[in-house]
């Protein structure tokens, strides 16, 4: 028989030499017969087990019969007294994980080993037995396990404790009885025993907050020596801090001294754990952060990559919420840009981009340019995203950032990377008007040499929307028309559409566009020719003097009235028949998800190219279209603002309802988005009964109930109120969902004839001053402030009383006003005792408002605020002060 283990020629140096070369499951299973020999050869048996384990480890599987046979054969090996072989037997049994009736065969052998004098037998037998056992057997061996936990040999104690951790998942009530022994083990001098014991003890008590708190209190006084146990204790401590946060608003944070003392521990893993715990505390103050940042800064220059990575990763996270706290590390961080480990370098770059101030942007960009060429695409994407948010923070720096983006756009890169750059440029064009023309030109240059059809067509579409609105639309025509010559059919077709858009929107270009479109009539591709013909005819090429009619424009370039996703589903459900597809049957409801995305700042803007021209605008557009399609509300005039959805039910209840507040000049419309989460029920005649007795200025004028609300298919019902024209009336409304419930027979999905009327109490809803304010940013606040003039400036000072921090006070005011913070001023530098914040917005009646807030905080945490408002209307400036004064 081939005996690969015997091969020992040293000259056999070929790279893929393996003692397991040509190994085959069937043959090894045959070999396993040696386990049955009356005269056991331990060495031989060990080798066979190794081969079996090798097979399993390589992903080979045994059938049930094979596994059973191997298991029974292996149990014979308990006869041998060879320790090495016994060890392999343990491994094999764990690997096979026998079924309950098979376990009985080895139980007595393992129990014998559990009581052996040899520590190794005891430790391993405990681990094996606990792995394969079930509850009934456990009670039999419980006594031995309890003993083992306090065994003087740490290996045995650890084996029992770790088994306890696993058993807690399946048999918690048994493990809970070991509390006394475990508590004794926590005091063990052996590091790992202490660690394991602490883990068990905490899990036993985890549902009892008081007990956990007591545990932490007693242990933080210092009897824990093992670094791993110390890490565990830090985690428990921050959990206790987190849970107690609600109870004590003022004064010292409990256990903070302990966390701080861990920063001076001699084991680096403990220091890191403590530093991280501190940075993740709820509402951590800059004073609390300082010592943690200091140790992390030291780690940044460590020779160990793991340590550098851990530190820069933590600081990167801190920079998201407290950028000023991290600025001290910037010099160390800059030296990490050239770090061998690209993950570290990328984290350093993105941290620097977050903490950088306006003046350091140019220098930083220079460093990044060198760095970009030698990192992988996935890291580049991270950097591009960081640069995008930096640009939005410092709009004045758009020139150098836009240049950077266009430079990297020219370099080599994969699709995802290019797409990230294009998305960023599109977002910058959208949010920074000054960047529009240069950005569009960069995009034009890119499509001159773009290998990705998808990106080309997306950019052409975007050009068609934005290009005609620029000062000199004609300069884009050349780039677009070049596509018609040089590209594949898909790109050619979208170039034709883009040309037509220019023709339709820019009257002066029309004759020349027609010349170009006529040339496309001879294209080799159907779609391109068809589009050219369609556009030429609808835009009126025969009589170029005729103004393109609005209806043709709307037909060609207007957006669909229904959300694309809904149209797609409806089309999929449509079965070909005599009846043609009716687009009016497509639901117009918009899933509330995109809204949530829009409202979450800092999240990756997913819109990008996919939804040009702008994410927020499209949702408003969508609402506007939805509402104007409903006859009852079409007379309300122009929609001023739609709020983010406010949840009126708790998560996981039978009916999920949220509300969007639509504000009009003299009306307020509540759109209740309802979802029925019970499959067995169909709701009909769903309406919300609103009690507006606490909102005196409002009177209900209309409501639109929902005819039916099937399971998991959201629907809306509306209630409209009249209010004094142009007045920012506020008030509180209580809501009651009213409906008829019908039971649904699940297999057939048919609802019963008769229903029962029912009601469901929803949470209250408030219309507040912020609802009358649109968040609209300005790119250069100073210019805007100066040009607004001081005619209607109103300045006043307010005392805000005792506050947790400047940030907290500032955010409260921002939320109250519902305005857009500008130029990154919503971030309060650490340790500062005063701060200024710039806000901008548009108040109902389309009045631009700019606000300068200056805060100061004293030793008693009393916050004072100076509020300066400039607006286009005197009464609005006063109204802003009123909001703050009454808030």
């Amino acid at each position: 028989m081939a005996q690969p283990f015997m091969k020992k020629d040293d000259d056999d140096e070929e790279a893929d030499y393996s003692p397991f070369l040509g190994i085959e499951k069937g043959a090894v299973l045959q070999e396993a017969r040696v386990f049955n020999d009356p005269q056991l050869d331990p060495r031989r048996c060990s080798q066979v087990i190794t081969k079996l384990l090798y097979l399993l480890n390589q992903g080979e599987t045994f059938t049930k019969t094979e596994a059973t046979e191997v298991f029974f054969a292996v149990t014979k090996l308990f006869q041998s007294r060879d320790i090495g072989l016994r060890r392999m037997v343990y491994l094999m049994i764990k690997e096979i994980s026998p079924s309950a009736d098979e376990v009985i065969i080895v139980t007595s052998s393992l129990m014998k080993d559990m009581n052996s004098k040899t520590d190794m037998y005891r430790a391993n037998a405990i681990r094996v037995l606990c792995r394969i056992t079930d509850g009934t057997l456990l009670t039999q061996i419980e006594r031995y396990l309890k003993q083992a936990i306090v065994d003087k040999n740490p290996v045995v104690a650890s084996a029992a404790l770790v088994s306890g951790i696993h058993l807690l998942q399946t048999n918690p009530e048994i493990v809970k009885r070991w509390s006394n022994e475990v508590q004794e083990a926590v005091q063990s001098r052996a590091a790992l025993v202490q660690f394991h014991a602490l883990a068990v003890l905490h899990q036993i008590r985890q549902n009892d907050r008081l007990a956990v708190s007591k545990l932490v209190t007693s242990l933080t006084r210092g009897s824990v020596r093992s670094p791993l146990a110390q890490c565990l204790l830090i985690r428990y401590t921050s959990q206790v801090i987190h849970e107690s946060a609600g109870n004590s608003q003022t004064g010292e944070r409990p256990f903070f001294d302990y966390l701080e003392s861990c920063l001076r521990h001699k084991a680096e893993m403990v220091i890191l754990e403590a530093a991280r715990a501190i940075t993740e505390l709820n509402g951590v103050t800059s004073r609390e952060l300082t010592p943690a940042i200091t140790v992390l800064q030291l780690f940044l220059s460590s020779s160990k990559p793991v340590l550098r990575f851990a530190a820069v990763r933590t600081l990167n996270k801190v920079a998201m919420t407290h950028p000023m706290a991290v600025t001290n590390c910037n010099i160390d961080m800059e030296s990490l840009i050239s770090d061998q480990n690209r993950s570290i370098a990328t984290l350093a770059i993105t941290t620097l981009l977050k903490t950088g101030n306006e003046s350091s942007v140019d220098r930083l960009m220079k460093q990044i340019t060198n760095f970009m060429s030698d990192i992988a695409d996935e890291f580049k994407i991270v950097v591009v995203e960081a640069i995008r948010s930096l640009c939005l923070k410092f709009p004045l720096k758009y020139r150098s950032l836009m240049n950077f983006l266009s430079n990297i756009l020219r370099e080599e890169g994969g699709f995802e990377y290019k797409k990230a750059i294009i998305d960023s440029i599109v977002i910058l064009i959208r949010d920074i008007p000054e960047a529009k023309e240069s950005g569009l030109l960069h995009l034009c240059e890119f499509i001159e040499d773009c290998e990705f059809t998808y990106l080309s067509t997306q950019i052409l579409h975007f050009l068609g929307i934005e290009g005609p609105k620029t000062s000199d639309p004609s300069k884009y025509i050349r780039y677009i028309y070049n596509r018609v010559h040089l590209e594949n059919a898909t790109v050619r077709a979208s170039a034709v559409s883009t040309l037509a858009k220019f023709g339709a929107m820019v009257e002066s270009l029309k004759p020349r566009i027609f010349v170009l479109l006529r040339r496309c009539l001879f294209d080799s591709d159907d779609e391109v020719r068809d589009r050219a013909t369609l556009y030429l005819n609808t835009l009126g090429c025969d009589d170029s003097e005729v103004e393109t009619s609005a209806s043709a424009n709307e037909f060609l370039f207007g957006s669909l009235e229904v959300p694309l996703a809904n149209l797609e589903t409806s089309l999929k459900n449509y079965e070909p028949s005599d009846e043609s597809f009716d687009i009016n049957s497509v639901p117009k409801e918009i899933k509330s998800q995109p809204l949530a995305e829009k409202k979450a700042p800092g999240k990756k803007p997913t819109a990008g190219l996919a939804a040009p021209p702008s994410g927020p605008a499209t949702t408003v557009d969508a609402y506007e279209r939805l509402l104007s399609s409903i006859a009852e509300f079409s007379s309300f005039g122009k929609l001023f603002k739609s709020s983010a959805p406010v949840e009126l039910t708790e998560a996981g209840t039978e009916y999920a309802v949220n509300v969007v507040k639509h504000i009009f000049d003299s009306h307020v419309l509540f759109q209740y988005n309802c979802t029925n989460t019970i499959p067995e029920v169909l709701l009909e005649n769903v309406a919300v009964i609103v009690d507006s007795s606490d909102a005196e200025e409002f009177s209900e004028v209309a409501s639109k109930p929902l005819r039916s609300l099937p399971y998991d298919s959201p629907g809306q019902t509306f209630v409209a109120f009249e209010k004094p024209d142009g007045v920012p009336a506020v008030g509180k409304f209580s809501n009651m969902l009213k409906f008829i419930v019908k039971e649904v027979d699940l297999p057939t999905g048919e609802a019963e004839e008769d229903g029962v009327e029912d009601e469901y109490q929803l949470e209250d809803l408030e219309v507040v001053a912020a609802d009358y304010m649109l968040k609209v940013g300005v790119s250069n606040f100073r210019n805007a402030w100066e040009s607004m003039g001081a005619d209607f400036e109103r300045v006043d000072e307010y005392g805000l009383g005792s506050r947790e921090s400047l940030t907290e006070a500032m955010n409260a005011v921002i939320d109250l006003l519902g305005m857009q913070p500008c130029e990154g001023t919503e971030v309060v530098p650490s340790n500062s005792r005063s701060h200024s914040c710039l806000l901008s917005g548009v108040y109902i009646g389309n009045v631009k408002v700019l606000v300068r807030l200056s805060f100061g905080i004293d030793g008693q945490r009393d916050v004072a605020m100076k509020l300066a408002v400039r607006s286009e209307d005197e009464s609005v400036s006063d109204a802003i002060h009123e909001i703050v004064a009454s808030g």
């Binding site: 190794t50 384990l53 990559p305």
Partner: protein, 181 residues
């Protein structure tokens, strides 16, 4: 809530990314092909780095992977996204050092792939002694190697009466004999 530091997997690959030994402790990679795909991703991402003097680190599929190379042996330890990197580093250090100690006492005394395969039983026991079901069992390479070496001794003296180096010396002799047969 899981607060205990935990290990998702421990891998030992060769310099071409083939699995020598691997142990998975969580259900993130349910099938063998999922496991192999992860190993491939880990290998290709780390291949060009120099993780010989100090352990290196990377984020792969939202996991923290700490790794160390010795000759043509690539050691990896994977933990969750928020795991303490230094704890994982101790585990990978313990694993690679313990394997180093064990293999250097074997027949050829080389710490490389061939020796690892020829002594796969030691490697598997080593894995078994380091992590148990995701919970870190022991990280001190000398203790780990000691436990395994002592397995091969006759049941004679308990471990406490011998020093580790003595245990290893006996182990070496014993293992050499077993391999020469």
């Amino acid at each position: 809530m899981e607060l205990c530091p935990s290990v998702k997997n421990v891998l030992l690959l060769d310099s071409e990314g083939n699995r020598i030994a691997a142990k998975y402790y969580c259900d993130d990679w349910p099938t063998n092909s999922a496991k192999e795909a992860f190993e491939k991703a880990v290998f290709t991402k780390t291949q060009k780095t120099n993780a010989r003097t100090e352990a290196e680190i990377a984020m792969i599929e939202n996991n923290v992977v700490v790794y160390k190379f010795v000759q043509n042996l690539h050691f990896f330890v994977t933990g969750g996204e928020d795991e303490n990197e230094l704890i994982l580093a101790t585990v990978v250090q313990g694993f690679s050092d313990a394997v180093g100690i064990l293999l250097s006492t074997c027949s050829r005394g080389q710490v490389d792939k061939r020796e690892a395969l020829e002594n796969l039983d030691l490697i598997l026991m080593c894995l078994d002694e380091i992590v148990d079901g995701g919970i870190i069992l022991e990280t001190d390479p000398n203790v780990i190697a000691g436990k395994i070496a002592s397995q091969s001794l006759d049941a004679g003296g308990p471990l406490s009466e011998q020093t580790i180096s003595q245990a290893l010396a006996t182990a070496r002799e014993h293992l050499t004999r077993s391999l020469l047969k």
